[in-house]
């Protein structure tokens, strides 16, 4: 067999590579959302944060010629969006889901507003580590070119999984998420904890956005995000608010997202748009399969408005 002609084997390989490549923003957004939701709030605005993070990272990377400064700026911008959501939701009668929708529109609007001049210039990319160097087959090399952010995200999900169980901060977030009254009885201020949890969640979503514009697809356009921020929210529910589950679910979604391009690369062009919709359909099916009208979801934070 010719090394460059691997035929249909290219499909699973492209899906594997695609899963790693496409899943990274899902990992960061869903880990961020997991922290926020564990504290008892839901932030649907992460979609807007993702887009704004992508724009900020790209703009800063263009201006400073450093992708890492871009990443940092995106995280900071995400932090600001998250803190704003956390602050405004502490007022009585302010609905966290509705504020999330508003911030989704506002974040995208601001990103398009400031991002206009950065559609043309080229920004330096975040580096990837070529784990496929042992192979001569270009498809294998391409599939195993793993970006450092994926590795950081994977490690972070293990750390968070451990931290939720074993650290004081993890316990505080969980208590606040399960019962505001219990948290107050312990002398904790639920609003402050949620403010910080939403802020951290926003910062992680900003990093997810930076990955989009600085690595894959690696440019800034107004169509950079197609609902990843929103799917990540559904993914957190599927993952039962468990960071390790978030990692697994993100890989699954990444694989589904890579299905269309993978099939196209071997010449299957029929139904391209339907394959493009695969992650959304998968999300919907998973939501239907895991929800139930009669029992509350296992592991759901008690204060979360989405499961009440």
């Amino acid at each position: 067999m010719d090394a460059t002609e691997i035929g249909l084997w290219g499909v699973p390989l492209a899906i594997l590579g695609g899963a790693i490549r496409v899943s990274t923003p899902f990992i960061f957004v869903s880990l961020g959302e997991a922290i926020t939701e564990r504290s008892g709030r839901i932030n649907l605005g992460l979609e807007g944060t993702l887009v704004f993070g992508a724009m900020t990272a790209y703009a800063v990377a263009v201006m400073t010629n450093s992708p890492w400064l871009g990443l940092l700026a995106a995280a900071f911008a995400g932090l600001c969006f998250g803190l704003f959501h956390g602050w405004i939701c502490k007022f009585p009668k302010v609905n966290d889901i509705a504020i999330g929708i508003a911030l989704m529109l506002f974040g995208s609007g601001l990103a398009f507003f400031f991002g206009k001049p950065f559609i043309k210039p080229k920004a330096p990319n975040l580096p990837a580590i070529p784990f496929g160097g042992w192979s001569d087959i270009p498809q294998v090399q391409a599939a195993l070119d793993v970006n450092v952010l994926f590795l950081i995200g994977a490690v972070l999900s293990v750390i968070l999984w451990w931290a939720f169980r074993n650290t004081r901060a993890g316990l505080i977030v969980r208590v606040v998420g399960d019962s505001s009254d219990a948290a107050r009885a312990m002398g904790l201020n639920p609003d402050t904890v949620r403010l910080l949890a939403t802020g951290v969640g926003g910062a992680l979503a900003g990093i997810g956005g930076a990955y989009l514009s600085l690595y894959y697809p690696g440019s800034w356009t107004e169509r950079i995000s197609s609902g990843q921020g929103l799917m990540a929210v559904a993914l957190v529910i599927f993952a039962r608010w468990n960071p390790l589950g978030c990692l697994a679910a993100a890989l699954l979604f990444g694989g589904a997202g890579a299905l269309g391009p993978a099939l196209q690369s071997v010449g299957v062009t029929q139904g391209y748009y339907l394959f493009y919709a695969a992650p959304y359909i998968l999300t919907l099916i998973i939501m239907i399969a895991t929800s139930s009208p009669t029992r509350t979801l296992a592991g759901a934070p008690g204060e979360l408005s989405i499961t009440k």
């Binding site: 007022f91 009585p92 529109l105 601001l110 398009f112 559904a234 529910i237």
Partner: protein
């Protein structure tokens, strides 16, 4: 309204006004605050807010031409906002109206082409029914999933919107594609007799009238019928509604299907009155602006009418702002986002002001 004669009548009238003023004063104040914050934003990027609002007025309402332009844009917003407002009365946050608009447009275009040759009144009616059915099934499914499977309707409706857009692209580039549409894949153009024309004497299509009627009918449905009453009870407390023996399931599915039907009708009107065929222009964001309209109107179908015209005007002025002030076209999005956040924040002020609660007046001093 109570009698206006004599001192007691006067104070009773004052109380009547005060009780109702809250629902007007707080959203209007929020609108003004949102625009003021946007002025600061415009100042910060080095432009003149005075010039901006002047341009916005001129582009949206300053001339008969621009008023007609605003009204044309308000037409789909009316129906898209109903798609958010009706479920909201049941306590559901449905934000995927864009999907129903897109599919309604595709269904209407397909029927319009398939029935080519039939009398125009029948075809236009069939297109309206097809658009409403497609949108109704799409959002009705969201309601059914919510009630029978407890699937969160906010997320599912938005996912369904993405799926709907993919479905439209697949259909428009595949089985329904007009081979003559090269650069912009579209369905076959509708024959001229199947197009919906303008209101006599205006450059605004009949969709505006349809939208206004839909808003009035929705208001009657919610405020004056037993179904609307049942929906409001279920929206307040599902358990209480079930204890009362209300069939909450059919109520949820019926209301979401109707709201999706309205959005689908908006798609049909876009096809029959504006585009002439179904193509990617159907996903123009009316569904998302409709969310803002519904929240600004606090989900009151009658209030949707002025709010949709206002936002249609802001939308219409986008191009002029872009040219006159050299600002990106997303400027309007930023303004809408700011107004949206402030409006939601203003919810916290309801019931906080003594001026709106006559029961508290007597205790003063």
């Amino acid at each position: 309204m109570p009698a206006l004669f004599g001192a007691r009548g006067y104070s009773a009238a004052l109380e009547w006004i005060a009780r109702r003023a809250e629902a007007f004063v707080i959203p209007l104040a929020a609108l003004v605050v949102g625009m003021a914050l946007f002025s600061l934003f415009i100042l910060a990027v080095g432009k003149s807010p005075v010039l901006l609002y002047e341009t916005m007025w001129r582009g949206g309402f300053g001339s008969w031409f621009s008023v007609q332009n605003s009204l044309s844009r308000a037409a789909p917003l009316l129906l898209a906002a109903l798609c958010v407002a009706l479920p909201a009365r049941l306590g559901l946050v449905v934000i995927g109206g864009e999907g129903a608009i897109v599919l309604g447009g595709v269904a209407a275009a397909a029927i319009g082409v398939a029935l080519g040759g039939a009398p125009s009144s029948i075809v236009i009616l069939a297109m309206g029914v097809a658009g409403m059915a497609a949108g109704g099934i799409w959002i009705g499914a969201v309601g059914a999933l919510r009630y029978y499977r407890a699937v969160n309707e906010t997320i599912s409706s938005l996912l369904m919107a993405y799926i709907a857009i993919a479905l439209m692209n697949q259909l428009v580039e595949g089985p329904l594609r007009d081979p003559a549409s090269l650069n912009k894949p579209s369905t076959q153009p509708l024959a001229d007799i199947y197009r919906i024309g303008n209101i006599p004497g205006m450059d605004v299509h009949w969709g505006l009238v349809v939208g206004v009627i839909a808003c009035i009918l929705s208001w009657v449905l919610i405020e004056k019928t037993r179904w609307g009453f049942a929906a409001r009870i279920a929206g307040g407390n599902v358990r209480a509604a079930q204890v009362q023996g209300l069939a909450v399931g059919p109520l949820v599915v019926g209301f979401t299907a109707l709201s999706g039907g309205f959005a689908g009708l908006a798609g049909m009107l876009e096809v029959a009155a504006v585009q002439g065929s179904a193509n990617a222009s159907l996903a123009a964001g009316y569904g998302y602006t409709g969310i803002l309209v519904a929240f600004l109107a606090r989900h009151n179908p009658l209030a949707i009418i002025p709010v949709a015209i206002l936002l249609g005007g802001i939308d219409a002025s986008g191009g002029l702002i872009q040219r006159r002030l050299d600002l990106p076209d997303a400027t309007v999005l930023v303004l809408q986002g700011m107004i949206f956040v402030v409006i939601l924040f203003s919810e916290t002020f309801y019931g906080r002001f003594k001026a709106f609660n006559p029961d508290l007046w007597k205790r003063v001093g």
